[in-house]
């Protein structure tokens, strides 16, 4: 064994001491892991049986990326129903809001990062698009590109990376003739060791930001500049596979995620919505297929999709929803099938 320095000996001792410090009771639960693991395994089997997994995932992503960027409903067009769809879904009518509405979306993407998903985070309160590869759990090497578009009039500043290092600005080639720069820890490395950040302005002066990692390409900078050049800064409402009606006006979407592939890595996509309705939190999940775990809440299956509703603090629901509870809310959900051409942007309807 090589000789240890004094510093190393100190670190061995200190880190051992830190690991041994008093801890709260463990919340690790093997039974819960088995339950959730079973769900992943089952759904993975279903996905394998139903599609040519990876090819299917890519095909879905491409189909969505060419949908109309903004409009009343994804259903307005083709009527090209998926042959596996059991019945023609009833499309919601009337005005509605789409929680996944953002100020732009991806255009050109590398072929290994072709699955586009969207997330509304409470903090910051804006929607991000994320393009990712096909790799699924347990790999952490999935290539990803996050797109963030700053509100008009907002100029992003430099600060610190999560690890505490200072963000440095390194000028990049112009994007569509507009100012662009890399954000990095080291001025000599614009790629920031593969954890790469690019900011640039649209012709209207709006700022966009790309954050990419695990791209596995010999020329990250050229690739990201091309992605940035293809970003469409026009407003974009993402069609979703469900709508919900009859909510009180006070209902607020706290979180919304359309993940491709699904976060658990066993399906082409999954959708999660978290709404604050009165004093209750309503979690809605929608997945392709008919499987769901016992802890998903109250569930139903229609048109090849399964929706589950979980209500936290049901006592806080407004009177109009309190009587039916989770089942009543589930009744207000319309599932639009597996074909993205039938999905809608009129998602949350009062």
């Amino acid at each position: 064994m090589p000789t240890m320095s004094v510093q190393e000996q100190k670190l061995y001792a200190a880190i051992e001491e830190l690991a041994d410090r008093p801890a709260p009771p463990s919340a690790i639960d093997a039974d819960d892991a088995i339950r959730r693991g079973h769900r992943v395994v089952r759904r993975r089997r279903v996905a394998r049986g139903a599609t040519g997994a990876v090819v299917g995932i890519a095909a879905v992503a491409v189909a969505v990326s060419v949908l109309p960027s903004h409009g009343s409903s994804g259903a307005a067009g083709t009527g090209a129903a998926n042959s596996s769809t059991k019945a023609t879904p009833q499309h919601p009518s009337g005005p509605g809001t789409d929680p996944l509405t953002l100020s732009g979306t991806f255009g050109w993407l590398p072929t290994n990062v072709a699955n586009v998903g969207y997330s509304l985070h409470e903090t910051p309160n804006q929607v991000q698009a994320v393009a990712r590869g096909d790799q699924v759990l347990p790999s952490s090497d999935t290539p990803m590109i996050w797109l963030n578009i700053y509100p008009k009039g907002t100029t992003p500043t430099l600060g610190q990376f999560a690890g505490g290092n200072t963000q440095l600005r390194v000028n990049a080639p112009k994007v569509n003739g507009q100012t662009a720069y890399w954000m990095t820890e080291s001025a000599s490395d614009p790629t920031n060791a593969g954890d790469t950040w690019l900011r640039w302005q649209s012709p209207d002066g709006q700022w966009g930001e790309l954050h990419a990692y695990s791209l596995d390409t010999p020329d990250i900078t050229t690739e990201l500049l091309r992605v940035a050049a293809g970003i469409d800064f026009a407003p974009h409402s993402v069609p979703l596979p469900m709508s919900i009606s009859g909510l009180p006006k006070s209902a607020v979407t706290v979180e919304a995620d359309l993940d491709r592939p699904s976060l658990s890595g066993d399906g082409a996509w999954d959708l999660a919505l978290i709404l604050q309705v009165g004093g209750a939190t309503v979690q809605i999940s929608v997945d392709p297929g008919t499987q769901h775990s016992a802890d998903s809440g109250t569930c139903k299956t229609a048109n090849g999709l399964t929706a589950c509703v979980l209500v936290t603090s049901p006592g806080g629901l407004p009177t109009s929803l309190a009587k039916g509870g989770a089942a009543g809310i589930l009744d207000r959900i319309t599932l639009l099938g597996t074909d993205p051409a039938n999905w809608t942007t009129a998602v949350v309807q009062q």
């Binding site: 061995y12 690790i28 892991a33 903090t123 999560a162």
Partner: protein, 171 residues
């Protein structure tokens, strides 16, 4: 029956190694609640991969790698900020008046300030006792990267480690 055997073996493994994985996770994230979430997410992945994991011969190494990779993946996305609702817990222990706990907290702060991969390198080298080559394999990087990350990490932690030694000498 096969599934029952699998579940029993998995449960037994988690009971035996969960505390150790929890310590690894805690050193990576410096928060016991987040460490629990990290391990919980990791053991779900471990369960899904259990038949393959059992066959590879180094189950502990595999499980540790899943924890580290899950941590690094979470650091790169903003996912954990959404799913972890706990406050940082440094101030939460009433017994923090004990001198060595204070020192541990200093080290926790210093570790937390390291970039994620550098922190993972330090934890794998000095808590998990992995060699440079083993650490390189676990992190899918070169031995040279491990050496440079270790050197940077040691340098960054030097102030805390030196302060710790000075306190010991004074007491």
């Amino acid at each position: 029956m096969t599934e029952l055997r699998r579940d029993a073996a998995f449960t037994e493994y988690v009971a035996a190694k969960g505390p150790w994985l929890r310590k690894v996770a805690y050193l990576l994230c410096q928060d016991w609640h987040r460490a629990d979430d990290l391990v919980q997410n990791s053991i779900i992945k471990l369960y899904v991969q259990w038949p393959q994991a059992e066959r590879i011969g180094n189950l502990d190494g595999y499980a540790r790698r899943v924890v580290v990779n899950t941590f690094l993946a979470e650091q790169r996305s903003s996912w954990w900020r959404r799913v972890v609702l706990h406050e940082p817990e440094y101030a939460g222990h009433a017994d923090a008046g004990i001198a060595h706990v204070e020192t541990s907290l200093d080290l926790a702060d210093a570790l937390g300030a390291l970039p994620a991969r550098q922190r993972a390198t330090v934890v794998l080298r000095y808590f998990c006792d992995l060699s440079v080559e083993e650490t390189a394999t676990a992190l899918s990087c070169s031995a040279g990267t491990v050496k440079s990350q270790t050197a940077r990490g040691l340098d960054a932690l030097r102030r805390v480690l030196d302060g710790r030694a000075a306190e010991s000498a004074a007491s």
